[in-house]
Symmetry: C2
Subunit: 309 residues, 2 copies
Amino acid sequence: MTTQRLPSWRPGPAREAILSFLDGIDAVPVDDRVAYLDNDGTMWCERPAYVQYGFFLDFLRRAAVNDPALALRPEFAAVLDNDTAQISEIGLPRIAGALAALFDDRTPAEFAAAVDDFAERYRDPARDVPLASLVYQPMLELIAELRAHEFTVGIVTGGGTEFVRRVSLRLYGVPPELVVGTMIGYSFTRDERDRPVLQRTVHQMGAANEGPAKVANIQSQTGRPPILAAGNSGGDREMLEWAQASEHGGLAILIDHDDADREYAYESTAATFQDAEPITAVAERLGWVTVSMADDWEQIFAVASTPRA
Amino acid sequence: MTTQRLPSWRPGPAREAILSFLDGIDAVPVDDRVAYLDNDGTMWCERPAYVQYGFFLDFLRRAAVNDPALALRPEFAAVLDNDTAQISEIGLPRIAGALAALFDDRTPAEFAAAVDDFAERYRDPARDVPLASLVYQPMLELIAELRAHEFTVGIVTGGGTEFVRRVSLRLYGVPPELVVGTMIGYSFTRDERDRPVLQRTVHQMGAANEGPAKVANIQSQTGRPPILAAGNSGGDREMLEWAQASEHGGLAILIDHDDADREYAYESTAATFQDAEPITAVAERLGWVTVSMADDWEQIFAVASTPRA
């Protein structure tokens, strides 16, 4: 190739380790060249709030206009008031379940349309940029470099599978079947003309796709164990260890949010997964590649393409 | 194209309907061109016994040599004696669960190696041909024609997902993430060196992937609703109706086993799904494309390529 590889990555041990790993990839059969990249905090910015939380909040606000009784439910009152103490007391799983249930009985197509509508309108609350500008430019370049080496690239998320599927094709070129997240349930019913209808239901919702579940779900849903994985939080730990333990000798990449000036600086933990040891310490102990956003990335955010007219 | 399309399909209403559907496919966005094809009885022969049953039986016979106590378990005794009355009394779900549990604690890689080993050795008990010769040549041509029209082609099965994944890439060129079947459970553990290990377990096994479950599982696992589906039994009914009900106007194809001379003649029902109305009558009533193996297929079985040396 004549173009520079990973152009937004500064020279240093992280870029070096990734390119060196890819330079040795000829020894790995193409079918086994699989990478899974976590979404929130790895592929795109997860602060000041998860994008999917913004999606639910946007939908709830508009639904509450038509149905004021919604705002009286404790879960929704806490969210609408942004009452962090109440949210914490009620607990994120119960809040998330209540928000997901707003879409109960919707078909997959109706839910997809709601995500599309939101994605077109969304502006990041802190930086006032469109959705595509939340994505990390160096990670798009990593995907391009992986594909140049005939990798199959999947996305993994603690968030909702169907939400991330809808944006993954548009933002990353990753097809729906390679997105592994938390599963909504579906019930099969029939309409008045006896035609089949599939409807969302939280009642058969899967467990949160965090920690060990990420590993089991990648295997169950796609049958594709990764030889490269990237993540940023305690919820990615088992997946990163699993990729590293590949019989081919895998690569585990940890994105460290240490750039308060250009992005955010925070210790990455998953709400659902409490670990005594900071994930950066785990990375160092186990020999993962730690990516310092401050030091290793020349450019952080992707420049959004012109919105569709 | 200069080559003839669907060369093993005889001229007639079935071939006509499929080609006519594909001739109009330009109106459908490429991302929505999705086909799901059932495996047993649709892609390959399911008589005199399911291939996966042969796989389990082969494994059980060899395991019982090392561990004679296995043969004393009622489920296994019935299978080893081919005692159909006993099998029927115990029930297929319990038998299937006991057979699947033979692989409990195996890793995905160990299970895959067992399938590969079996696939290399397998001979059809009735015709004494290798695995690849169980596949229907006209269905391979249908897959080729679908791909020529930029379809994403998936495989759906009432059998085990991981078993079919291992043969789908080899036989149909369908990658693991596009195989939707009955899920085994996985448990995440660690070895003596604290490295992550994923092990099979029947304790979190999913429900049988038949009937409405096929629809829900295709959506959940792949997010890809089909606009074309092919099946052969009552267990495929909901999937076929779902494909037909696509907003793009879908095509449902039923393979009718009506050729006792060249294959088998039987009314296709799924053991797990009893319907009062024969599936061929459902097909006629709902306007599906019914494929008569006797009339519509000039050649039935694929000629196996030379086995690997």
